[in-house]
Subunit: 310 residues, 2 copies
């Protein structure tokens, strides 16, 4: 069982808007709504891969009710804490004419202290039955600055391995507690290390440095370039398949889901990195976050995983 | 009593997004949601002006339920037809840094034939007790092309005066049935007449031509320039106050509400045009559609109404 934690869940809306421009009036062709937030996206892909998962976090209001219904009808198991405020909405505008993708994120609802304690209790309970816990995304107002640190300590004390996928201050605070693994992009790695991370060599060096500093497993993604992974002392570089991305939103979450699923099934590191990368590529082919399992199988053959030995 | 009809109602969301750009990720500062659609906006301003009003139209789904609750808590009387599909959402992004305003409208839900007949019956019932009916906005999929023509005939046969405020094909079809009044902008007037309407002289000429062709009262708005009105054979030009617009969405609806309210109270044409124009200006000063009555009183003194006698 894998538990995903989404403290700042959202309804993700993807609006298809031809010729999207600032200071103009547009008629959208179509709007697709689905439950979102990074941990929810991870749970969706884990479920699609056939891995036992439960999604938790905070939901509230009318949007929260809609979200619970939608997760249920998608068959994704969940156990969220109900809060007094309304779950937020995040918007993505896809312009099929120019290939642009514009995102607007609503600020999250404020979580009360009581609600936060309900969440930590829930994570404690679920961590008992989970081999892995994935802590994903930004922090809503109201939770402690060190929210992820606290969750990592709780989950680990119940015997679960904890992965952290977040950014900014939440990442820094969580990182200080040494989660079992982190997935960061080049900017976030650079932020943690206080330097620019851009080339392949810098990406590999950053992953190694982060492992030396505190971590066990570190993955630093470099967009379409690929990614560096340091796992059990070994360093890998992964080159993804070339795809015509429709919407890359959620590809990082699909990556993490693929990685967790494969690790959960005790696949080799190379297999796990390849599956994760294929999931990320498959996610980018869709208008909304998620994967088609069949596309993952096809893309898997085009992923190149190499051990870095210098 | 004035009845407003909104066939394509929406939840209007105003997102405050600094430095709004295409192909970027933004964190919105704030999101304001309120019931919308042109007729709903007209009803809100009529209510704020203290005029007896009822709003009708189609609503459905979770958004419809939210809308009914919000109208009720704002004290705006309504009697909508419930439909099987979900009420749409319309988005406006206000960028306080650059003063841009970007709108994205969702396509409306499809209305069934039975639902359309329920609406015509409701309009017939309410028109009996209303002196005026305002038919506002676009047509959702599923209603007849000549929806406004049918509503105009129904309302008129019950003794009500009918105003039409729409665009494109819906306007052309409604116009053919000769509503008692129309409010169009320069583009729409140009579309009806098959010519360009841009200058003050062209705007006045267009209003007069439309009255000669079919109408009783015609108002052609020209944005910040002002507007031309032909009422009871007399032509007027109205110059609005200069305001620093925050969000002009809904100003046309506020104008119509001011006009209907004043006409309902049998004020003079000049007074009605001035009140309508002050309402439009007051609406533009807010982030969302609606007026502060006190601001209307202040702005009223700055409106200039002149009779055109050439």
């Amino acid at each position: 069982m894998i538990l995903t934690v989404t403290l700042n869940a959202a309804i993700d809306q993807t609006w298809i808007v031809p010729d999207f421009r600032v200071h103009a009036i547009h008629r959208s062709r179509r709007v697709i709504r689905q439950p979102g937030g990074k941990g929810v996206n991870v749970a969706r892909v884990l479920h699609a891969l056939g891995t036992n998962v439960c999604a938790t976090g905070f939901v509230g209001g009318q949007n929260g009710r809609w979200m619970m219904k939608a997760l249920e009808s998608d068959g994704i198991p969940s156990d969220f804490v109900w809060i007094g405020k309304e779950t937020r909405t995040c918007l993505t505008f896809l312009d099929p004419d120019h290939g642009t993708q514009t995102e607007v994120l609503e600020p999250g609802p404020t979580v009360s202290e009581v609600e936060w304690h309900q969440l930590t209790a829930k994570v404690a309970t679920w961590a008992e039955r989970s081999s892995m816990v994935a802590c994903c995304g930004s922090l809503p107002p109201g939770v402690p600055e060190d929210a992820y640190g606290e969750l990592i300590r709780i989950a680990r004390s119940r015997g679960a391995t904890v992965w952290l996928d977040t950014s900014g201050k939440a990442l820094q605070n969580g990182w200080a507690v040494r989660p079992d693994g982190i997935k960061v992009n080049q900017d976030e790695a650079g932020h943690l290390l206080g330097k620019v991370v851009s080339s392949r060599a810098e990406t590999i060096a950053a992953a190694r440095q982060l492992v030396r500093d505190a971590g066990q497993t570190v993955i630093v993604t470099a967009g379409v370039q690929g990614l560096a992974a340091v796992v059990g002392g070994e360093t890998y570089w992964v080159t993804p398949p070339t795809v015509q991305a429709v919407n890359p939103v959620g590809s990082g979450d699909a990556f993490l889901a693929g990685w967790l699923s494969a690790t959960h099934q005790r696949k080799s590191r190379e297999e796990a990195l390849a599956l994760a990368t294929a999931c990320a590529a498959a996610n980018a082919l869709r208008e909304t976050a998620g994967i088609e399992k069949q596309q993952v199988s096809v893309l898997l053959k085009e992923v190149r995983v190499e051990k870095v030995v210098d």
